[in-house]
Each structure stands twice: as C-alpha cells, then as structure tokens.
Amino acid sequence: MYLILSDSEDQCSFRVRGALEASGFRSVTIANPMIDPARFRWHLDSEVCRSEVEFPQQPPISLDDIGGVLVRSHGWLDPHGWESGDLAYVQAEMQAAMLAWMWSLHCPVINRYPPGIWYRPQIPLLCWQKLLVNCGLQTSEILITNVEQETLALREHLNSKGVVGAFYGPLTSHGGYLVTDEKEWCGLANLQNVAPVCLAEPHGEATLVCVVGERILWRGVPSRDMTRLEPNLNRFAVEAGLDFVELALAPADDSIRVVAVEPQPHFEWFDTSAQQQIVDGLVHLLTTGKESGFC
C-alpha cells in the first residue's frame, strides 16, 4: 500500500498514483489522514511505535502495510467553520503530528522533511547559501541593509561591472523586482526606513531543474555549463535530505548561479517529457527506496 498525501488537484500525485496502480501497486490519496472521516491512532513509547489509519468501511492500514509515502501536503485543513485562533492551534497540532509521523515510518517517504524545512516551506534562498556553497554551487552576492549609502555602494559596484540595477526580494515571500531607474532606487530608500532590504545581483534567464533521487530533469535544454553542475545538484539534494527538490539556475557574472531552491517542486512547470520522467523517478524511489526513519 502506498500513501499519497495530497489534495485532489495535484497533478504530480495524480500521475504517480496512476503509475503505481498501472504497475499493480495499491495506493490511497488523502489530504489529511488525521482528521474525520479517517481515524488515526499512533501508540508510541520506549519500546513500541505502532500506528494505523482507518478509512470508513475499510480495514485499518497499519504502519507495516505502508510501502512508501509521497508528501505533497502538510496536512490540509478546511478553514471553513473554524475561528482563527482555533484554526491556528489545530493547524499547529496537525503539522506537529504529521512531521513526527513521517519520521516514524520506516518506509521510503518523499520527502521526509527536516523540521527546519517543514516549518519554513518558503525558506529564503539565503538560508540555503552555506549548503549550496559547500556542495560547489554558487549563488549571487546578497546584501541585507537599511543603510542607504550601502545600497548606493552596491549600485555603483554593479554599475562598474556593467550590470544595470539590482534585484530586490523580501526574505519572507517569493515576490521581488528589478530596481533600475532613479524612481525605483528612491522607493527602495523609503522602504529602508521601514525594514532592511535584501538585494542581489540580477541574473539572466533561469532554467528549472528537478532532482528526483539520482535523476536530474531539466525544463527545456540546459547549457553545457549547467549540465556540468549535475553532480553538485545531486550532492546538494542528498545533503539537504531531499529526494525530490527543484532548483532554478541562471547565468550571472560569467558563471552559473543558483537563484531559487524549492523543496516542494512545481511539477506542472515542467514539460511533458520531464513530467513523465519525474513520475517514473518518484515511483522508483517509492517502490525501491531504502528504508529509514526513527522507528
């Protein structure tokens, strides 16, 4: 039995389930196995770690029956009918239980997210910096400052290299824009009165790449400089503890830089051929992956 934690609209989950069943494997897709109508029971002590999930009119599925888990949802909860305070509490409890349960399973879990990623799904690129560099991958120079003179110094430094503008992006969201003209630089200076700003050297067009176990799948055709980094990308995924991870690479300052890391890959952003290979890679990992986990 394979468990796919996902909402019904996730194409990746839908395709993986189809591929599993086509290969004769039973699977269940559920957004959240810990709330009604499912019944979830997990007994844990120093010697015992036994969990089971029961769906209406079906026999319980025990931990030992689960061959693998694909995690595309962190435990979705319908907010309808909840007061905001209660909803926040229930979501915190759900996420806590789900994280731990994933680590209790000894079957392959893709991804078995470490707490540092589980609780920071929109983790800024800067947080990956050390690991990326240690894996031989480069990122652009990043500056955080609330000092206007420092921003101007960066602007002049980039200008001297023939680079027009800088990329501004908040640390806590995916938004961002290129700061080029005088009006935008003034706007940035105003923003610095409220909060330090995060600036990076602008980069060329980004190419998406997905690491699925040992497989590297590109969206489109990567440059030779990018494909040379494939061993580094594999190493990064292993060091990060992620079997399934998406990165964006782009040329900047005569080299290839990592400009984004996404622990929950955007399956739909890849072309048909890459999607099929992602599905094959995930099924392979689920059905042949190594057992681990804490129990």
Partner: protein, 334 residues
C-alpha cells in the same frame, strides 16, 4: 565582542546582560523591541560566511569581531510598530525583521545561542520523542489520535490516570483527563491530540550549556509545576546529579539538535528510570537559577565569551559537570 538580541522587558535576556556585565565581558544589546529603528545594519554574503556590521546609537560591531550571540526572539507584543504601516501588516514586517536576523545567526561562525534550525524541532514534541527514544532516555506511553474509542481504551489501560497536552510548540497546561471529559472525546475527530500515561516520580529539569549540565529536582504536588502558584501550590527545587548515562543522553540530544543551551524536562521514577518529555531550545532558566542557585547564566556568559573550546570555564562548575558524568554520583551540594 558579544551580541545580545532580545527584549528589555524579558527577564532572561536581562539576566544574561547582567551576568555579562558582572563578568566584565563586553557586549552590545540589540533591542528587538525597537529593531530596526535606531540600528544600522549591513550584512553581505559572497560565500558561506556573512560580512558586515551592526551599529547601535553609539556603537558599531563588525560581524567578524563577534565571539558569541545570545538571541531570544519576541512575539508581536512589546515591539515598536513599524513606521507608516497599518497594524494588520505589522506581523508580516516583524517576520521579515526576524527572518533576516535568523538567517544571519545561522551563518555566523561564532557561538550562537541558539540557531533556529535545531530549535524548530520543539514545534513537534512527538518529533522530539522519536529522538529521545534513540538517546536512551525513556518515552512515556503516548497515544496520538483523533479516535475517541482509542482514547477510552488507553484511559482504562492506564488505570484512568492519563494526561493530555499540546503536541506542537503552542504552550498548553498539562491536564489530567477526568471522567467527566470522556463525553467530549468525539470532538477529537477534528484534530489529533496527544495523551500520555501519568508517570509517577519527581520532575527533574536539566539545562545544558555547551558541554556543561545542570540538573535540578522540582518538588511540586500539581501536574504541571510551571503553574503551581496559579493553582495555590508551592514549588521547591534542589540541585542534583543525574546518572552519567542520563547526562550523556541529555548532552547528546542537545548536540544532535545543534542547541548550545537547552532545557530538558525529565521525570525520575521511584524505580530510577528517567523519562524525557521535551527539549526546550529557548529555556527560561532564570526561574531555575533563582530557585536552585545553579550558575546557569554564568555558564552562558562564559560560553558566549570564550566559545565552545575554551579553557577558561569556572572550575567549580566544571567539577559539578564532571561529577554528573562520573558513575555512582550522588547529590551535588551547592
């Protein structure tokens, strides 16, 4: 130079500052209640280690001068509202402030008490319980469920003596499940909840500071001693030495989570077993230091000043740590 990041009204941060002052260890205070107002920062990354500075009203520290950072983050309360911003936007802006600081702390090469990554495990007590099982400490019989019938079975199996509490980082008061609450159990179907068998014995709180360990027995007749005064009861504490295997397990857990300072909640049973309930990455150790007299803040100050591998640690405390690590130890007298 040491950097302390916290709130002026936070008594634990105040204690750390006072101890640093008392030791003569230079430090700068970054007031998270007002930050970034009144501070100038420049942090840049060209490789794995950040460069730059932090400047206050009358001081400036280069990041490469720092020997240690102590950080205790604030909630939205007690913080200066961001300028020219609607109140509803304030939490998002505080998050942006904190994320910058947290990211900086993660990458600084000096001692940081504590980096956030390890501390996030505290948002799932169950995740911590899995680590505890591997450390050699005992985990209480626990049931996590949304199934009312399973709770009733668990309740009877453990002689109608079980407690319930949050399993996330949301603070909750530990309560005993009473018979009149059984009728409400069907509400559980909306959210998994944690139940545990009541473990008889005495609460033991362990603080780890780097490689040092401070243990204290907490005597109280209420289920959750943190709320003893609110329930009209008293708390007394006595410093103790825990068996070496327990001390090693506590240090192992802290190191595994990358925590240079932790507060670990144990229970010592009459049979001499030690159960572990939680590893707190931002412990309010003032409470324990005040009651027990243990020099926890001094150990923190020295760690911040000297780093992990210093030889300048106080010999008295070293002897206590040593005692805790040796076999057949008895209670340490302070």
């Amino acid at each position: 130079m040491i950097l302390v990041c916290g709130g002026l009204a936070d008594t634990v941060t105040e204690l750390v500052c006072a101890r640093l002052q008392n030791c003569g260890y230079p430090y700068r205070f970054l007031d998270l209640g007002t930050y970034p107002k009144g501070f100038k920062i420049k942090w840049s990354w060209q490789g794995p280690i950040p460069n730059g500075y932090i400047a206050g009203p009358d001081w400036k520290v280069d990041l490469n001068e720092l020997t240690g950072v102590y950080a205790r983050y604030l909630g939205p309360e007690g913080r200066l509202p961001p300028p020219d911003t609607p109140t509803s936007a304030a939490p998002a802006i505080y998050n942006e402030y904190d994320t910058g600081l947290i990211t900086l702390m993660e990458d600084l090469p000096c001692v940081v008490i504590n980096r956030i990554a390890g501390g996030l495990s505290n948002n799932s007590k169950l995740f911590q319980a899995l680590l505890v099982r591997q450390s050699g400490l005992r985990t209480p019989p626990t049931l996590v469920t949304n199934d009312a019938e399973a709770v009733v079975r668990f309740y009877h199996k453990h002689h109608e003596n079980i407690i319930y509490k949050s399993l996330s980082g949301v603070r909750s008061i530990v309560r005993r499940l009473s018979p009149d609450q059984l009728d409400r159990l069907p509400l559980l179907c909306h959210c998994p909840t944690q139940f545990q068998a009541c473990i008889p014995g005495i609460n033991v709180r362990v603080h780890t500071v780097g490689d040092e360990l401070f243990a204290v027995r907490v005597h109280s007749d209420v289920v959750d001693y943190r709320y003893a005064h609110a329930e009209g009861s008293d708390v007394t504490m006595e410093p103790v030495s825990v068996p070496p295997s327990v001390a090693n397990s506590c240090l192992q857990l802290s190191h595994q989570l990358g925590l240079l300072l932790s507060g670990i909640d144990l229970k010592e049973t009459p049979e001499g077993d030690y159960y572990c309930f939680e590893i707190n990455p931002s412990p309010g150790f003032l409470y324990y230091e005040k009651y027990s007299g243990q020099p926890i803040s001094l150990a923190v100050a020295e760690l911040l000043h000297n780093g992990m591998h210093s030889s300048g640690l106080c010999s008295k405390r070293n002897s206590h740590t040593q005692a805790a690590m040796e076999p057949n130890t008895t209670k340490v007298n302070y």
